[in-house]
Symmetry: none
Subunit: 249 residues, 2 copies
DNA sequence: GCAAATAATGCCGTTTTATGCATTTTTTAT
DNA sequence: ATAAAAAATGCATAAAACGGCATTATTTGC
């Protein structure tokens, strides 16, 4: 079989099955694995496929191009995301909610982080999915169109069975008197369950939402371990929360 | 043998077999390999064939199986997706797997379709999410990086509690003798469970995968209700499946 | 028809390419 | 952590390509 012919065959197989294994191709075409490896290398350089350990993947299936929607107050959220990402260590189990701040966090994660992320937020899951060493556990249930997160009894039940090391929550309103509040009943149910399950609760919010109030109460400040905003931890606006026993970063 | 005559013979052979080997031609026509090489060189310059190390390939072989093949397969999948989309009526409960064909189906859905889609495939969910009147139920579990679908005991258990009207499966190999087969053990478990739960099973595949075999068996043909390919339903290749009692579209 | 010019072909030494094998290094899975 | 699998590296070999050159056909002009 001619080299070119063989390479055409490989590309065809990749496009057909989305992936190929080097050893399978080797026995199939009856050439050494070295030859296959060199073929994959060349085809990879030509951009015809993506070479990975043990085989190759089709370009189309892997490079999922989801339009990364613009995030309001992007810079502030990136600051927050980086502070939050620093708290995550290899091997941790991490539960996250949804919202743009959490997506910013997902994007700020070091590419080689080895951890397990649990979430029902589709946009967040898409981000986690792109990290090779992150295991993703999807919380299933009915998908809420507004928040793009799964909400419902199933999701609650599943979260109750977990004991993650950290829980990251994007919050919509926080106030010394009323604690954390939100606007959507179902989302509040979910957040409450997440808070109860987790060993450590970390709330993320831009300072705009500090000292604001929403109709439905999530929890008191005592349930929160860490609060992250884009402001420096010693900013006067945050002092009341430090006084309430929260670690403010 | 005249030069012109010889070159015409070579072109003829290339068009007939899609490839020729220099040494074969040399012994066949009984001229030196140098002559053959020079012939191939000239024919290559004239665009009659593509010269490669050791011989030559027909132009059609190259162009049909390389860049346009992708578009070709894409078009086929769109044809399949449209046939499949026609089966979906307002109000239905629909369970879908993962894979590129299913994503093509998700994209082919009418924008105002009112139905409930259940899936563990993240790319498919992302598509469903964009339809305002589609309710999405996410099947949760550990996310498989390769297939971008949730796999595991939880997913299986959840699916067993459902009785969807339709189940759309993208399949990787189908054969009259062995039924549907696939390459990944966990994916097979999932597909089996989906098939058992559903009232009607619809398999989607490009015709290239018809009459092919993979190592792990999913189910017999008897479990399938409808088979959709890009070919017309009366194509001779599909007759055996019609004989097996499957509705072929 | 014949000689000169031109083209085609085969041969040969050199260079390039393709491939497999052995060894070391890296990655992956358990 | 450790063992197995795969990748990278270097090397050897064989096949093929290349370019020049000699020989043989073929054409062309007279």
């Amino acid at each position: 079989m001619l080299k070119r012919e063989r390479q055409e065959y490989i590309v065809h197989q990749v496009n057909l099955h989305n992936k190929v294994l080097s050893n399978a191709l080797s026995t199939e075409i009856d050439v050494s694995e070295d030859t296959i490896r060199r073929d994959l290398q060349e085809l990879n350089e030509k951009g015809k496929l993506i070479k990975v350990h043990g085989g190759a993947l089709s370009h189309s299936f892997n490079s999922s191009s989801y339009p990364s929607q613009k995030i309001y107050a992007q810079n502030n959220k990136r600051v927050i995301a980086e502070k939050a990402a620093n708290l995550i260590k290899d091997g941790m189990f991490i539960l996250t909610g949804g919202g743009t701040t959490i997506i910013a966090l997902a994007r700020a994660l070091p590419i080689n982080l080895t951890a397990t992320f649990i979430s029902g937020s589709i946009p967040a899951i898409v981000e986690y999915m792109h990290h090779p060493n992150i295991e993703v556990i999807v919380i299933g249930d009915k998908l809420s169109k507004n928040s793009k997160i799964t909400l419902g009894a199933d999701a609650l039940a599943r979260i109750k069975t977990l004991k993650p090391d950290l829980c990251f929550l994007g919050i919509n309103a926080i106030d010394v008197q009323h604690g954390i509040t939100d606007s959507d009943w179902d989302v509040v149910q979910l957040k409450q369950t997440m808070i109860e399950s987790s060993q450590k609760v970390i709330c993320l919010t831009i300072s705009e939402k500090i000292n604001t109030l929403q109709p439905v109460k999530v929890c008191d400040l005592t349930k929160i371990d860490i609060l992250i905003t884009e402001l420096p931890g010693n900013h006067p606006m945050l002092q009341p929360y430090i006084d309430a026993g929260i670690t403010v970063i």
